[in-house]
Amino acid sequence: MISLESYLLVSSVLFVLGVISIISRRHAIAVLMGVELVLNAANINLVAFNHYNGGALSGHIFTIFVIVLAAAEAAVALAIILNLYYRRASVNVDDINSLQG
């Protein structure tokens, strides 16, 4: 018998590792990978809560929409990163500060 708390624990570890990747990595694609980890953690939570509350499948539907959003976000973010690489020859997120006041 696997408890709800064990799923929540795994997903919170994934979330923390994703946040660490977002705030500490310099490479833009590494930041994107952190975002994917955070979205996966949220998906595990949605499906786990849905499983332990029986009945309707609304958690699954939410997870499907999160997966759709993640796919769209990854495509647009990679297009932006590639364009940035053509223009600046760098994907270091610390170098991209021309919008800073």
């Binding site: 018998m1 696997i2 709800l4 708390e5 064990s6 799923y7 624990l9 795994v10 919170s12 570890v13 994934l14 979330f15 923390v16 590792l17 994703g18 946040v19 660490i20 990747s21 705030i23 500490s24 990595r25 310099r26 694609i29 590494a30 994107l32 990978m33 952190g34 994917e36 980890l37 996966n40 998906n43 595990i44 499906v47 786990a48 849905n50 499983h51 332990y52 509350n53 029986g54 499948l57 699954h60 539907i61 997870t63 499907i64 929409f65 997966i67 759709v68 959003l69 993640a70 796919a71 976000e73 990854a74 495509a75 647009v76 990679l78 297009a79 990163i81 590639l82 690489y85 610390d94």
Partner: protein, 163 residues
């Protein structure tokens, strides 16, 4: 037996996510992200979510991961791929992460979660299809328009400007 398998897949997921966050080599990060995605799909199987597990493998491993590898290969010279990519002191990052994890763990184990009876392990594809074409039809259509917009936007951004 089921518990042992769960622990096995949870350890795979967490360890490979750790490699994603802490590896100095970006290629290692991307490839261990694949192990993370497959481990998460296995967790979905334990939660009796067959359609979600399949969509996870197809969309994440088959789509997003290939895009990420493509991006890494295109924006890095292979010879300089081992440059470290941390911008902040590692000690502070680990300290902050442990603090966040401690708060989340405290919340998880001190909350009395509402749990009804568990959903029976039966196929979910038909029910999900009925819900998507019925109760959630508007959200489904909005998501399809969003995908179309993202497709056009990504193609517009990624092409070179005409002189």
């Amino acid at each position: 037996m089921k518990e042992l398998l769960f622990v096995f897949f949870a350890v795979i997921t967490v360890v490979s996510a750790g490699i994603v966050s802490f590896s100095r080599n970006l290629i290692y990060s991307v490839f261990s992200l694949m192990a993370t995605f497959i481990g998460v799909a296995a967790l979905y199987v334990f939660l009796a979510a067959d359609f979600i597990a399949l969509a996870q493998i197809m969309v994440y491993v088959g789509g997003i991961l290939v895009l990420l590898i493509f991006g890494v290969m295109l924006t890095q010279k292979i010879s300089t791929v081992t440059i470290t990519h941390l911008s902040v002191n590692r000690v502070w990052i680990v300290f902050l992460g442990l603090l966040l994890l401690g708060g989340l763990g405290y919340t998880i184990f001190n909350t009395s979660w509402f749990t009804g009876e568990m959903r029976a392990a039966e196929p979910t594809v038909k029910a999900i299809g009925n819900l998507l074409m019925g109760k959630y039809l508007l959200a489904f259509e909005v998501a399809s328009v969003l995908l179309l917009g993202a497709l056009i936007g990504a193609a517009t951004i990624a092409r070179k400007e005409e002189q």
